[in-house]
């Protein structure tokens, strides 16, 4: 007979969603087991990345005084590139360098472990090196626990919160996520490169503790996607995010795309002499609002990437904050349902309403059309080159030929890229509607 542990709630996955859920339940006085398949929280997790911390304001007061941060992001650049050109919009804010800050670079083995420790400090029981291998159901089909790979041991509870990330096999087993949906996912590949702090400060124009976030469009050949470059304390993270079906059909290896980016004339000088510390890869659920599963069923809640909650809308790549926001809401909804003695889907329904009332679903709903626009053919394949050529036409001095007029130049350059002015205007308007 398999060993059975009975608790009030089981949370699967000690990523940001799971730790936030376990923390909320523990604070509500509930016994909660937090299962993690890796040897420590964060060991399986890869992101860009930058964590936007304000979601923590209500969870860990003055979190910035203790969070394990690499650098506080004070500069954010959006870069459009062709193989030989680049055009950047660069924003710098002194306010972002002071509490409560905006974004921070941090590494997941540090950040995830920190948040998990908040949950255990509050009384949650973290069990690492243990895979939840399936759901346990009662005679009526309602979820009442999980099986694990520890000699078949089971953990039973009136409510299970699946925070098992992008491939969520628990949400799949519950029939809430399709078995595989390549077109809703992108692959992120990342290199962490050693670079001394002093070199980072000089090359990126920042002081100690200040960091830079660069998003890059036009660097992924024919494959829809984008690139990123983030500064850590004495490493930089560089990588690409690419649409899965098109990557698979392209014949181009993902690490080659990162090498393209590293060798780009606008980026290579920043990385001179840097050497590879760690190579990594992870999937992103990039489909947004329209691809989210049902988040509630009898005895089961879904939070974070398991619920496709990464906001990957081109200008934004935010998932950790969405995971924390949704995990916290799931933990509170579960605690409420336990107190009321009703963990059916109806008893847990406040979860969805809570998410709709805050940024998690509000942002996703507002930006639901953004992933399609950002990954569209014109934005991916034509606009980076078009805008770079426009800049080149504006700023190249062609004496004795006089300067071209702006409108004529735009029409000429657009035509050269197979784009009509009407389409350009239409996409601009569409962008304003989606993002505005």
């Amino acid at each position: 007979m398999a060993e059975v542990t009975e608790v009030d709630a089981v949370v699967v996955g000690a990523g940001p969603a799971g730790s936030a859920a376990a923390l909320a339940l523990a604070r509500a006085g509930r016994s909660v087991v937090l299962l993690e398949r890796g040897p420590f929280p964060g060991s399986k997790n890869v992101y860009g990345g930058v964590v936007y911390g304000r979601v923590l304001d209500g969870i860990v007061p003055r979190w910035w005084e203790e969070v394990p941060v690499e650098r506080w992001v004070v500069r954010r650049s959006t870069m459009l590139v062709t193989p030989t050109q680049s055009l950047s919009v660069d924003y710098r804010s002194a306010a972002w360098g002071e509490a409560p800050y905006n974004g921070m670079t941090t590494l997941r083995c540090h950040f995830d472990a920190w948040l998990a420790a908040k949950a255990t400090d509050a009384g949650a029981r973290l069990v690492t090196s243990t895979v939840a291998t399936g759901l346990v159901r009662d005679g009526t089909g309602r979820v009442v626990g999980v099986r694990t790979d520890r000699a078949g041991a089971e953990v039973h509870a009136p409510v299970v919160i699946a925070c098992d990330g992008v491939n969520s096999f628990l949400a799949k087993e519950a029939g809430l996520l399709p078995p595989a949906a390549a077109s809703h996912h992108t692959l992120g590949v990342k290199e962490v490169l050693d670079l001394p702090a002093g070199a980072i400060n000089e090359r990126f124009g920042v002081q100690d503790h200040e960091g830079v976030d660069v998003e890059i469009l036009g660097c992924t050949r024919d494959i829809p996607g984008g690139g990123f470059l983030y500064t850590n304390a004495d490493t930089v993270s560089i990588g690409v995010v690419v649409a899965l079906p098109q990557l698979a059909a392209s014949g181009v290896r993902p690490e080659e795309l990162v090498a393209d980016l590293r060798d780009h004339p606008g980026i290579a000088p920043l990385l001179r002499g840097a050497s590879l510390r760690e190579y990594a890869a992870h999937l992103i659920p990039e489909g947004g609002y329209d691809t989210m599963p049902e988040l509630v069923s009898d005895g089961l809640l879904i939070a974070g990437d398991a619920g496709a909650m990464t906001l990957a809308a081109g200008l934004w790549l935010e998932g950790v904050n969405f995971a924390i926001g949704s995990g916290d809401a799931a933990g509170r909804a579960a605690a409420g349902a336990l107190a009321a003695g009703d963990c059916s889907a109806a008893g847990l329904a406040s979860y969805r309403a809570d998410l709709e009332g805050q940024f998690v679903l509000a942002d996703h709903k507002r930006l639901r059309k953004a992933p399609a626009l950002v990954l569209s053919e014109r934005v991916q394949q034509r606009y980076p080159g078009l805008l770079c050529d426009l800049a080149e036409g504006m700023f190249t001095v062609t004496n004795p030929t006089p300067k071209p007029g702006g409108l004529r130049l735009t029409r000429q350059v657009a035509a050269g890229h197979g784009v009509r002015l009407r389409q350009l205007a239409g996409d601009t308007l569409r962008g304003l509607r989606i993002f505005g």
């Binding site: 997790n45 083995c109 595989a180 079906p245 698979a248 014949g251 760690e278 890869a281």
Partner: protein
Amino acid sequence: MSAPRPADRPSTPRWRGISFAERMGTVDFRVGARAHITVDAEVCRSCTTRACVTACPANLFTPTADGGILFNYEECFECGTCYMVCNHEGALTWTYPDGGHGVVFHHG
């Protein structure tokens, strides 16, 4: 016995900085005894896309001369790319490694 590591692919020549084996050498793997992913090379023989060969970030799928696929689970990121892009029923079985095993990221 597991299959040998595939040779470096010509598409990532050394002049791009580093060989593929050196690249994977930067990653910490706590290899489990059980193969958490298995590939049915017979099914792969009828596959024309070879989606996994292009997309697997760890480059673990190697076409063989006889039209099959050689796969080694040991240096796997557990990312899920292969099962997502493969559209041949029955070609892959995919699970996570047993608890505590598999990839350990230190700079994720």
